[in-house]
């Protein structure tokens, strides 16, 4: 009885030494973290940040959005709100023929080819409520939405996360031009 318990305890002691060995080996191995503000992790590919508008190929200041409100309707948290002018006759449906290549699940395109395209005036995303589900991106008939890779977001107020995506698009386009 006593012998057994002593043997057991000695075995236990040995297991403790094995544990110490593991930590000491790890002590000398290279670090796996990065020093954040100076370095960033390289593995952001595929990450879904907040959504952003895709510019037209011809006019980087304008988005592909045709203001069909599909994304507004599907969004579970109603965090998209957009404003558009009434359709003008003169306008040419430029965005309509760009295929929504990224959305393979698409059954039928609702792109209005004949009708004039309404002009998008503002496209506001309240990122506070976005659940990054990707439904808006999938439901967009023109492929006007995509995910940004903007992950390093921080702010002091909620208002900072109400993004005007159209203004953002234009800002980015201007930056690219410079």
């Amino acid at each position: 009885m006593i012998v057994k318990s002593i043997r057991e305890n000695l075995g236990g002691m040995w297991s403790l030494l094995v544990g110490l060995r593991v930590t000491s080996i790890n002590f000398f191995r290279p670090h796996v973290t990065v020093h954040y503000p100076r370095q960033c992790v390289p593995t952001l590919e595929g990450y879904r940040g907040h959504i952003e508008l895709v510019p037209l190929e011809k006019d980087p200041l304008k988005s592909k959005c045709i203001a069909c409100s599909n994304c507004v309707k599907i969004c579970p948290t109603s965090c998209i709100s957009l404003k558009a002018t009434k359709p003008k006759k003169a306008a040419v449906a430029e965005g309509a023929d760009s295929p929504a290549a990224k959305v393979p699940s698409e059954g039928k395109k609702e792109a209005p080819v004949k009708k004039a395209k309404p002009e998008l005036q503002s496209f506001v995303l309240d990122y506070n409520y976005c659940s990054l589900c990707g439904l808006c991106v999938q439901s967009c008939p023109t492929g006007a939405l995509e995910f940004s890779d903007d992950v390093y977001l921080a702010g002091f107020t909620r208002q900072e996360f109400v993004f005007d995506l159209l203004a953002r698009l234009q800002r980015q386009a201007q930056k690219k031009e410079q």
Binding site: N9, L20, T23, H31
Partner: protein, 323 residues
């Protein structure tokens, strides 16, 4: 005679100031060391942002703690509540007076040095008790109860592990105990008394409430144990005293078992510090490796294993000495 007393007094006062500085410096170093070692074991850099390689991190921590609001919980006895951290800290400083750091670096040479250290470190448990009792917090109370029974239980094997050394050297004087050992590792008492060393080290871990015996403050069970309610400097003092006791434990272990300041080639305080820091590193290493033991297991280790082992060890030592 009249002249002699003031000199001694001055030495002690200067020594006290020096030990306070030493304690503070050690705490800073240990906090940094602890966090760095933890970081490296976790394969991350540890503190890195404040100062080069984060060496100013302990100062930043200290500053933060000083700046915190001092807060006494409702219903707590505020006098005792704030006395507790001081009771915890004060004896720690006294203990350093009798530790021989080097052949000439010894503030207070007394022939009961070891007794003094054992007695004064025992006061710490009173601080735990008061802190837990007066906090008016159930977690703190449970933590204090754990702390008291743990300290009381582990004092016994601690003393029993020290006794063989006393018998071998015939003195309580830490300086003489150091001189009783040679300069080379095989002349140290750890070679003659390996069992006593292991017991003493385990008890030292338990007495200083270090993991895996950190039950009084087991944060996953008791949030923070006896110092749950302390903020700002009160917490800082407990923190400081914990590290001070760690250093004391390492110092006493170095003196008793590792030849103190004696070392190969040139003896001196550098050997002492090296030994102390190696012991502290081992303590830190152990903390970041093991889970916490349970309370009854902790007492079982003490009563069922350490005390009988220590007694057997003591008897064998006595037999060998007598022969």
């Amino acid at each position: 005679m009249i002249e002699a007393i003031p000199t001694q007094l001055i030495i002690i006062l200067v020594g006290l100031a020096a030990t306070m500085a030493f304690v503070g410096l050690n705490a800073i170093l240990l906090v940094y060391l602890e966090r760095k070692v933890a970081g490296f074991i976790h394969r991350r850099p540890g503190p890195y942002e404040v100062g080069p390689h984060g060496i100013l991190q302990p100062f930043a921590d200290g500053l933060k703690l000083v700046g915190k609001q001092i807060f006494t919980p409702k219903g707590a006895d505020s006098v005792l509540f704030w006395l507790a951290p001081m009771i915890s800290m004060a004896p720690a400083i006294v203990c350093f007076l009798v530790i021989p750091f080097g052949p000439n670096v010894l503030i207070f040479n007394t022939n009961v040095g070891l007794v003094l250290i054992l007695a004064f470190t025992g006061i710490n448990v009173l601080a735990l008790c008061i802190a837990g009792w007066t906090s008016q917090n159930k977690y703190a109370l449970v933590g204090a109860a754990r702390g008291v029974s743990q300290s009381v239980a582990y004092e016994i094997p601690l003393l029993l592990a020290v006794l063989p050394i006393i018998f071998m050297t015939g003195t309580f004087n830490l300086y003489d105990i150091t001189l009783g050992q040679g300069a080379w590792p095989w002349q140290w008492f750890i070679v003659y008394q390996p069992v006593a060393f292991v017991i003493f080290f385990i008890c030292a871990l338990a007495e200083t409430n270090r993991a895996p015996f950190d039950l009084p403050e087991a944060e996953s069970e008791l949030t923070a144990g006896f110092h749950t309610e302390y903020s700002g400097m009160g917490f800082a003092l407990f923190f400081l005293s914990e590290y001070a006791y760690m250093v004391i434990a390492a110092c006493v272990t170095a003196v008793l078992f590792l030849g103190g300041f004696q070392g190969p080639v040139v003896s001196g305080w550098w050997w002492f510090l090296a030994k102390v820091y190696i012991l502290l590193l081992i303590m830190i290493w152990i903390r970041w490796t093991f889970p916490r033991v349970r309370f009854d297991q902790l007492l079982n280790i003490c009563w069922k294993w350490l005390i009988p082992l220590a007694i057997i060890n003591l008897l064998i030592t006595l037999l060998v000495i007598a022969l």
